[in-house]
Amino acid sequence: MKIVVSNLSVSYQNLLVLNQVNFNIPINTITAIVGPNGAGKSTLLKAKLGLTNFNGNISFFGKNLKESRSKISFMSQYQEVDWNFPMTVFDLVLMGRAARLKFWQSYSQEDLEFTEKTLKEVGMWSKKDSLISNLSGGQKQKVFLARSLVSNPDILFLDEPLAGIDYKSMQDIFKILKVQKEQGKTIVVVHHNIEDISKYFDYIVVVNKKIIDFGPVEDVIKRRSISKAFNS
């Protein structure tokens, strides 16, 4: 049971961003996608989610994206979002439940209870009525993570969830991700900090326009593939 990416290529305006990428991610792991700036990490994540045009194949535990969409959740990059939007923490997290609803349906009691439970899990229940613009960087990322968790997905894709946050918040977020992994979820994280990588991740995909290496974290570190990617 794996997420399988085969022969994946992405280009923007005749510029090849990712070239013939092949790798797979085992179920129930926390995997980091690492690489230098402009290596195509976020593009790879977006291709997996069908958010950018690509050539090649991607399957999620034997199913295609269309069949798996309801079981996948996604956390956008911090900067891609309008944090000045007048919205409370509770409403933001509740948003994660909306994809299940038909356009004429309102949120159910179960949706509200699930939102409360998830906010408590990430330690943000006390801030439920706060405006999102009043949160700190770490709190914003936790609330954002809660939105991805509230739909109870099997697969979580997180685009730089640790960007611009303090050490304590980073530890909190990894604790939450470990609990999610123990519950059977598969988590894929675009990550920029390579210093602490062996501490938190099971698998690594090293990318720089193409796949440099992938596999269990210890093996990739032994092969010195990360430094190769950053120096190439």
Partner: protein
Amino acid sequence: MLIYFSVLLFALVAALYGNFCVFQKQGLIADVLGHSVFPAVILSILLTNSKSYFYMMVFSFLFSLLAFAILNYLKRNPLLDKDSIMAIILSGFFGLGTLLISILKRNSSNLISGVSDIFYGNVSAISSYDLFFILWFSLISLLVYYFLRRYLIFSSFDSTFFKFKFKIHKLVDFIFYFILTFLVTLSINLVGIILTSALFIIPCLISYKFSKNYFQLEMISSLAACFSCFLGVFISSNFNSVPTGPLIVIILGLFFISAHFISIKPSKL
């Protein structure tokens, strides 16, 4: 009574949809659509040899769609940012309108009177038939808003998440711009081409300074738009020489300045 009811309902709908123009960082979109209406109105007078409100509406709507299509086409060019694209369309359509107006002056000078109403609005020039049209379209737009609201909030806040989670994202965008185009077209006789964007944008800017959630933002922006339109129409219909559009915009502007000084949070928009 009908005039006040139609105008207030229209103002309410314009504010609700205008809020999303602001949060989708498309503050100038109403201005672009408004300016695209200018040559449309003059062309409709030239071609039909009449100042029929119906034909003006049809031409305006088609030109708004054209402007919107050009906007989306130019967006594909990575060298052009949003502001530059809007500036190109805005000035292009205004230039075309100016050219057409000079042709109108030469060929049909008897039809030129009253054209200034298109620029600055004149509520007394709206017939009861037009008012009913505004009323019904505003009601339909309000009903659509009820169903669209949730999706528009999601797309304004986090468009990547919205595109991934909701298969209907293209449909939602299409309906939003379709209604916006129609609303801008309907606003011609009320606020005029030049000032139309103010009615869509300023209520949101006022409301943002006092709102703690999106529902409050909707309430305050609607109130600001309705009150300004009520006052504007009242003064304009009692003092016939005063155009409606500038009055509404001045009242909204005064509200905005007052809101700036007594707001409960710093301006981030």
